[in-house]
Symmetry: C2
Subunit: 410 residues, 2 copies
């Protein structure tokens, strides 16, 4: 089945929000073997939305729209699509009841302008919205499927997964299945050179490289009748790749380094404490995105000031004075100090200069030291990252998590 | 000038990456008065890219493409567009020299497949890439502009800002200028009810509401000959809005609550220490995204374990035993404890249940206490947030920053 996604909202075209909906929907559709060939974003404008929908309706078997279902004046997705398909909008009593209930629960009167959210194109199925007031729309018409979902991702995503994907999955035949290999510590060009012959000789599955900040991924994609068959086609290709560049491989699919680290910590039953300076809590934030990490993570200390480094991490004043807060020695004492004072098995530390101020010729912006400490070993790494403050924090946090991962695997 | 953006890359259609490029480019084009009417994403496929480019070329005066400039087999943007415009690809010596230099600096040999990155459509201007190997392309042809930029945002963005925007800005007449008002503590429907008559009666400037997680924004957009004129048109509309709902207004444009808080802290010359539990370092991470905050932020303590709460924050064992780690009393003692032990002016704390495990009937997932403490006052707030672990962390961190903001404004 061929599908495409239309995101409606002038705020997208003005660059005020990122279009995460198209990504979420694509990922889910791909899993059930639906080919997504186009994403389009268009403003809150009747004519342009109609033009874009016309193109989509004539080349795709399923069109998923998001946005423009709100209570306000400029929300016109349902109105425009109904007009194009020549279907009247009719009141859906169960949707109206849900909207009233939404406001009652919050002890508020339903404003009049929310009424229009309960109007749906004739013949459509209402998709309940547990997080907001706009119901979704699922409609089969003229041998094709049109779906309308609200714009806010936290409303859209549960509706997509609970209703839309199971519905479309029944209509779809065959699967597209991808396996993504994630590498750390090797450049895109070098990686591709090493497996160029494989890329060129493959048609199904295909191999596609992709560079992200500080990592490189390879996507192996197979088309087959079943996921089992696709996986069987992917396995020998994956094996050939790992034979050549397996030493840099660290994860599969959308698994993040913090998830791998968390799993290793929990499996090895290791407790950890973290001391952060330039990353400002980002390592701890990433790690605490993983459910269950409280069994392993005892604490994190963001020691922004030198005083905090001395008081909480027992970094020696002489070390700070002689080598500075951004140094190999301080990083090591931070990792060691946080481990000892927390009485955890492991300590991890990061100290550096995120900028834009504070750099010198000897210690430029982007210089970061990362240290790992356990009862029998300690390791320190020196990095020089490029980018702005936010990028340097991100790269440093990832490097710290990778150091921890490598140490846990030893 | 009418423009549109085409993002090239199968990884977008598979949902493997978010399309942040379209957002960044839109935002920059809007500032110089260029109307962006469409975003399109298409895969690494010659025919579909050609079809999409054909549509764009016939309805827009400028087409900006990103992606597909890499060294690999499936990078075919330059090849496809050159073919469509009937222009040969020719070697650009200066680009080749830059690519060689890129590898030399890193002590590596240039792989052969990077050679094709130096081939540009005849008559085009090469845009230097300081962060990677793919030069960009700027081409005027048949009275229109076509721009091709690499896909990785950290390469694309500097090239866009340094070369593309100044170039297009010279060709563009008139401006579209937006002012965004950001509100906290009021729902989208309620806000819109209060200013419905203003929204309906306005055509230039227009007023458009938008809900994001935990906040609501209003965008006032004017079209005019100059930014000055647009600002003069926006000012009276903004005044009418703030007369009615000004008490909920907290920021303008893309300013984040952490930026406002950081500015207030620095202006009032206040030092702060933070104690986080369920947010796991996210409040500290957000605050340390702001340059210069090291003057105010002394430390943050992520006290995940009860032991850390006792040892580092001096929360009483009786409090933890009697009321639990997630309670008003513990939140207050954490805020007070971190302030006293750090000898800072202010303390801020967050404790709650981010889930998915750990909730009970009395203390469900999403329950969060936030506390503020200074020498003369302390405040605690109770929240019950919806969403998954990551959303609850995000909402709790924002609520904490808003509590701090309100306290600093008293």
């Amino acid at each position: 089945m061929k599908a495409e996604i239309i995101s409606v909202g002038t705020e997208l075209l003005l660059g005020q929000i990122t279009n995460t909906n198209a990504q979420i929907i694509s990922r889910e559709l791909q899993k059930i073997g639906v080919d997504v060939y186009y994403h389009t974003s268009v403003g809150d404008n009747r004519e342009r939305l109609m033009e874009v929908f016309h193109t989509a309706w004539n080349r795709s078997e399923a069109v998923i729209l998001t946005g423009g279902l709100g209570p306000t004046q400029d929300d016109l997705t349902k109105e425009t699509i109904s007009e194009y398909l020549n279907l009247p909008l009719v009141l859906d009593e169960s949707s109206l009841a849900r909207i009233r209930e939404f406001f009652e629960k919050r002890g508020r009167e339903m404003p009049d302008n929310n009424l229009k959210q309960a109007l749906l194109p004739e013949g459509s199925i209402a998709i309940p919205n547990d997080k907001g007031t706009a119901p979704g729309v699922l409609l089969e018409w003229d041998g094709r499927i049109v779906v309308m979902l609200p714009g806010p991702p936290f409303e859209m995503e549960p509706m997509l997964k609970a209703y839309v994907i199971p519905y479309i999955s029944k209509k779809s035949s065959g699967v597209i299945f991808s396996r993504v290999l994630k590498f750390y510590g090797i450049g895109e060009s070098t990686l591709e050179e090493k497996i160029k012959d494989l890329i060129e000789s493959q048609t199904n599955p295909t191999i596609a490289p992709l560079a992200k900040m500080g990592e490189v991924t390879l996507r192996i994609t197979a088309k087959a009748c079943s996921i089992k068959e696709a996986m069987d086609m992917i396995a020998p290709v994956e094996l050939k790749i790992t034979e050549r560049v397996g030493e840099y491989l660290y994860a599969y699919d959308d698994e993040k380094v913090e998830e791998i680290v968390a799993r290793l910590l929990l499996r090895l039953n290791k407790t950890i404490a973290i001391a952060e300076s330039c990353t400002g809590g980002l390592v701890s934030h990433k790690l605490t995105e993983v459910p269950g990490i409280s069994k392993s993570l005892d604490r994190a200390i963001v020691s922004y000031s030198n005083r905090a480094k001395e008081e909480l991490l027992f970094v020696k004043r002489e070390t700070l004075e002689k080598y500075g807060a951004v140094s190999e020695q301080t990083a090591l004492e931070m990792a060691d100090g946080v481990r000892r004072s927390s009485e955890t098995d492991l300590g991890l530390s990061i100290t550096g200069i995120a900028g834009p101020e504070g750099g010198t010729a000897a210690k430029p912006v982007g210089l970061v030291y990362i240290a790992y400490s356990d009862a029998s070993d300690c390791i320190v790494e020196r990095h020089l990252f490029s980018g702005n403050r936010s990028e340097i924090k991100e790269r440093a946090a990832n490097a710290a998590l990778h150091l921890l991962r490598k140490s846990l695997l030893k």
